[in-house]
């Protein structure tokens, strides 16, 4: 009987100690006390991004480079005139229902991004009755909230493919995704900024931008095959 009583006392003491510890910790978690525990400065990952961003801003940009038959640079689209389908007098651009892209080369199929993403926005534009551009945006719930934007642009046969890229030249280069060739602009540090992949298409271009790594962005682009 005595050993049983001793065991019960020990168990009781341990339980009481645990309970006491728990309430002690809860006391510590009181709002007034928490302030002292907040991190003193910027999140290390964000600080690293800001330092890289500042360094990146000082690096040279591309004015007009041709990579895999796509002009890229800081203002190449104004130079190469866009799709070639639009004219402000004879074929002005007009917004249209994004559903108009269904079954066309510009369709951006649902299910491209994982279920973690929600579609937030879509838009389409036509000129002279020809659908020239479709855009869809997705995002993840907080706290990540990484965004994904997919654009498809039709250009007239013989027109140059061009896309403005504003990042440092050293972050821009060729890429192959599946059977398609294109250009990649690597993010300085995802998810704080964006990876861009531009693919050369027979009809024009597909552009995938994501606050993700090159590999993850390429996976999304590959789904557009």
């Amino acid at each position: 009987m005595i050993p049983l009583l001793r065991a019960l006392v020990i168990v009781g003491m341990l339980a009481a100690a645990a309970l006491g510890a728990y309430y002690g910790v809860r006391l510590l978690a009181d709002e007034g006390e928490v302030r002292a525990d907040l991190p003193p400065g910027m999140a290390p990952a964000l600080a690293e991004f800001e330092a890289s961003l500042q360094a990146d801003r000082l690096k040279p940009r591309l004015d007009d480079a041709v990579i895999n038959d796509i002009h890229v640079g800081v203002d190449v689209r104004s130079e190469y005139g866009g799709s070639g389908y639009c004219n402000s007098d004879t074929a002005p651009p007009e917004y249209t229902d994004p559903a108009a892209a269904k079954g066309t080369e510009l369709e951006i199929p649902s299910g491209l991004v994982t279920a973690a993403f929600r579609e937030a926005y879509s838009e389409a534009v036509e000129c002279g009755g020809v659908l020239i551009a479709v855009e869809r945006m997705y995002n993840m719930p907080p706290p990540t909230e990484a965004g994904v934007t997919i654009d498809r642009l039709r250009v007239l046969p013989g027109e140059e493919r061009a896309w403005n890229l504003y990042g440092a030249a050293e972050r821009i280069g060729p890429i192959t995704v599946g059977s398609k060739k294109g250009v990649v602009e690597r993010a300085i540090k995802p998810p704080f900024d964006t990876t861009t992949i531009i693919l050369y298409e027979g009809f024009g271009m597909t552009v995938v931008r994501a606050d993700l790594s090159v590999e993850e962005t390429a996976k999304i682009a590959e789904g557009l095959e």
Binding site: A16, A17, L38, A43, R152
Partner: protein
């Protein structure tokens, strides 16, 4: 029996003291509320030229964006009010990163808001027909009320990129892609007020007033 009881009480006291001084790995959560104001060049009046619309104006499909009057080259501002639990009054608690994020056919600036201490995203806002100045805006918050912040993020484009962009002249098309922002019912739908109406409809607001927010976000930040 009394001795046993005293032992148990003593153990509880020891445990409580131990609990007070041993660091905890428990997550700390802070609640925030963010009001994103219109980005017009003037504080007062900021002039609305097309109420809530999606795509072309007028279009009441959804509260996606509002058109604000402007002129080529004028400055686009980030304006916000932020309540951030635990933050001291008017301290910088977030960053807004302005970057060029064009559509397939028009110039567009994106401002992404990131919490300073945790690096967590707090939302994104877009200003179409504008050219980013690549600025980093310091966004102030307060745990005892609203903190106001303002910083230039872009300039209004003129001309636009190409003939592909559907626009009727210089303006700011301010919208979001965020499923997690609410859109203000203070501003009219585009069919109720747009500059293309006869007679044209424009509405003026003091865009620094805290009740004239365009987007409203809330969430929890984990430290």
């Amino acid at each position: 029996m009394r001795r046993l009881l005293a032992l148990v009480v003593l153990a509880a006291l020891v445990g409580a003291v131990w609990g007070l001084f041993v660091p905890t790995a428990e997550a700390i959560w802070a609640v925030y509320y963010l009001k994103v104001q219109p980005g017009t060049p003037k504080d007062d009046p900021g002039v609305l030229t097309c109420g809530w619309h999606s795509g072309a104006c007028p279009n009441d499909a959804s509260r996606t964006a509002i058109d604000w009057d402007d002129y080529g080259g004028s400055t686009v501002y980030w304006r916000s009010y932020l309540f951030m639990q635990y933050a001291q009054h008017d301290t910088v608690v977030a960053r807004g990163y302005s970057t060029q994020y064009d559509t397939a056919i028009c110039y567009r600036t994106r401002v992404r808001v990131v919490h300073y201490l945790s690096g967590q995203s707090m939302g994104r806002v877009y200003y179409t027909h504008t050219i980013s100045n690549s600025a980093t805006v310091s966004i102030k918050g307060s745990g005892s009320g609203w903190s106001y912040s303002k910083g230039s993020v872009a300039a209004v484009a003129d001309p636009e990129m190409t003939d592909d962009c559907p626009w009727g002249g210089t303006h700011i098309h301010q919208g979001d892609d965020d499923n997690y922002f609410s859109e203000s019912p203070t501003f009219p739908w585009s069919t109720e007020c747009n500059v293309g109406m006869h007679p044209p409809c424009t509405k003026s607001y003091d865009v620094t007033a805290s009740d004239k927010w365009q987007f409203y976000g809330s969430g929890r930040i984990q430290y």
